[in-house]
Structures are given as structure tokens and as C-alpha cells.
């Protein structure tokens, strides 16, 4: 990976004294940006192939007629859950648990859901829909930027008034359930697989 980034550096080592730290910082930053771009391209490709960048597939899910979105999400969760927890056990990755704040999660979630139905895109699938040629997603992207600024305007107040309600910190399911972490992971995976099997047998 780093070999590609080292290409611009000439064979002969430049003067060692003047800029000791300069090349190192941008190189790691460039690596971060390039990895983001590559992962994004793969993600966008998969979202479009999975049909979730299409208006009727998203709305079909919310009307409980087409279950493509749930099938994509749950199979991603099953595979990612087993993989990432196994990698974590081996000390290969760090976890990134978002805080549990019941009021903010519920109110924010419902507001997000309303916008999800109105636009029929999510922040990720809307970007894939733009690549696919759905120009209305460009308007959604404009709305996302406005909405983020409006949130920032009220962030001081919300952090004081809403975030503390039901604030439980970085709570996970395996802290709640009195069983070994791996058991909880495998049981959840089995439960989600059963949900998918039920969807398949009901043929939706």
C-alpha cells in the first residue's frame, strides 16, 4: 500500500536537515484519504448493485412490500458482527461504540426516518443514487448540508437539554445480557439469520 505513495520520492535522499517532519505527515494523511476513497468506491458499487440506490426499492421497504433493504442490512450486520468481534478478540481492531442516549437516539431516529421516507435515500445510498444519475439526490445532498448546519446551530442547547436524558454511555448488548460476549454475538447472528429465513419463507 505504502509503495504507491512512496513513488514520488526520488531515489536520492533529499537534504536531511531542513524539513524533518514535513513529508511524513502528508503521506499518512494521503493514505487515509486514498483508503476512504477506495472503500467509498466499493461501498457505492455494492449499494447500487444491491438495488438500494433505487427510489422504488427504498419506498418499497418502507411500505413493507419489498424487503431488499432489510436483507442487505441484516446480512451485512451478521457477517460484519462475527468478523469484527473475532478480529477484536485477536487484538486486530478497536471497537467504535457510539454512546447510548435514549432521548437523542429515539427523537433523532424518528426525525431521520421521516426524512428517509421523504427523500427515499439515506446519506450513503443517496450518494450512490447521484452516481447512478438520479438528480433529485443532489437536492437531498443540499438539504443534508443545510440540516447539518441547523443541527450545529442548536447543538449547544441539545447537548444540554436532550443528550443527558437516558444517557447510558457506551452501552452494549453484551454488557446487558449475562452471558459471554462470543455467545451474545453468535446468538444475535442466529436470531438475525432466523429473521431473514422468515422473510424468505413469507416470500416478501
Amino acid at each position: 500500500m505504502s509503495t504507491i505513495l512512496e513513488q514520488p520520492t526520488p531515489e536520492t535522499v533529499p537534504t536531511p536537515v531542513p524539513e524533518p517532519n514535513e513529508p511524513a505527515v502528508p503521506a499518512s494523511k494521503l493514505r487515509t484519504l486514498m483508503l476512504g476513497l477506495v472503500f467509498g468506491i466499493v461501498f457505492g458499487f455494492l449499494l447500487q448493485k444491491g438495488g438500494v440506490a433505487k427510489y422504488h426499492v427504498l419506498i418499497g421497504q418502507l411500505l413493507l412490500v419489498d424487503f431488499t433493504v432489510v436483507k442487505v442490512m441484516l446480512s451485512a450486520v451478521i457477517v460484519g458482527m462475527i468478523g469484527i468481534h473475532a478480529m477484536h478478540r485477536l487484538g486486530m481492531v478497536e471497537m467504535h461504540i457510539k454512546p447510548t442516549r435514549y432521548a437523542a437516539n429515539i427523537i433523532g431516529g424518528l426525525i431521520f426516518g421521516a426524512g428517509f421516507a421523504l427523500s427515499a435515500y439515506c446519506p450513503g445510498t443517496g450518494a450512490a443514487a447521484l452516481g447512478q444519475g438520479n438528480y433529485d439526490s443532489l437536492v437531498m445532498i443540499g438539504g443534508m448540508i443545510i440540516g447539518a448546519y441547523l443541527f450545529a446551530e442548536s447543538s449547544g442547547w441539545l447537548a444540554m437539554k436532550v443528550n443527558p436524558i437516558g444517557d447510558r454511555g457506551e452501552l452494549t448488548l453484551f454488557q446487558w445480557i449475562p452471558a459471554h460476549r462470543s455467545t451474545v454475538v453468535l446468538l444475535t447472528a442466529a436470531l438475525l439469520a432466523a429473521v431473514l429465513a422468515t422473510i424468505e419463507t413469507l416470500n416478501v
Binding site: 447500487q48 422504488h56 446480512s75 429515539i106 421521516a114 437531498m140 447537548a159
Partner: protein
Amino acid sequence: MRQITTTTVLTLLTPAIAAAQEPTIDPLQYPGAAWSPYLVGALIGVLSMFTFYFSNKPLGASTAYARIAGLLGKVIAPTHTKSLKYFKDNPPKIGWEFMLVVGVILGGFVSAWSGGELTGRLLPEMWQARFGPDSGGLRIAVALAGGILMSFGARLSGGCTSGHGISGTLQLAVGSWVSAICFFIGGIAVAMLMFT
């Protein structure tokens, strides 16, 4: 002034009211996914293992929009933008998240182009079937409102369909499960109001 606003809103809503009398539109009459949703889902699961391992980051798209909002805000109203709590805690910058969303646009294009699924239009087919072919203004208003609500909701709840719905739930974070379930409760309620 109030009169004008009411008239404008009514004009925008007329196609919606007219279409409300028509029978429900079936989303299944349109083409579905090109690949099996299980294969795509499994590959997204593998992709999230890669982002954790190589970038030490969970897949999530909504943060990028907040970063753009902050960067634009710093150009238009620098002092005010820097005074806002969210931007103090999350300094706006072009980072991994921004590049991820740029990549998603490119990946969506490559996928649609390779599969002969490039659309190139403002109004999705199912939207036209429901609200009529002249409903461009209504679609722009609704998509804009949708974007604003999604972004606000994502920031308040702490993530979006990818950040909470996939990356958060797979880590078994309780808040992510609560948020993801609320995304669907809110979405189902509003979609039912719009289409039935």
C-alpha cells in the same frame, strides 16, 4: 404575504391531492436489485471489517455532510461557525469520511454504468406514477426537506443508516439498535402517509 404562501403550498400539493384518489402504486413492478441482496450484504460486512482494520473507522456516511456544512460555514460566517458547539467538538475538514462519500458517488456511477442502469433524470419512475410527470417542484421541495430532516436526525441520534444501522448494530451498541429501529418506525409512518 400569508395568502401568497398558502397559495404556493396548495399549488405544490395539487398533484399530490389529485393522485391520492388513484390506486396504490406497486413498487414491485419496477426492476429490483442487480445482485442478490444477501451477496451484497455479506460483501458490505467484509468491507466493514476492512475499514476497521485498515482505517480504524466504522463505515458511516452522514458525518461527511456535516463536515461540508462546517467548511462552507467557515467561508460565509467564520466567527459564528467556530462558536457553535458541534463544530468545536468536530472541527470541519476534508477527511476520510468526505472521501468515502465522494467514492460512493463514483462507485454508484461505475456500478450503474456497468449494469446499464444509468438513469439521468430528476423524477424517479415510482414518484412520477404517484405524483405525476409535472411534479418537479414538489419533488425538489420534498427531497430538500428530507435531506434537512435526515441530517438533523442523524446528528442528534449519532449516526445514519450506515453509521448506526450497519456499523453500530454489528458492534451490538444498544443506542445504535434503538436508533436503527426508530429510523424504520419514522420512515414507515411517513411512507405510508405518502403512498397509501
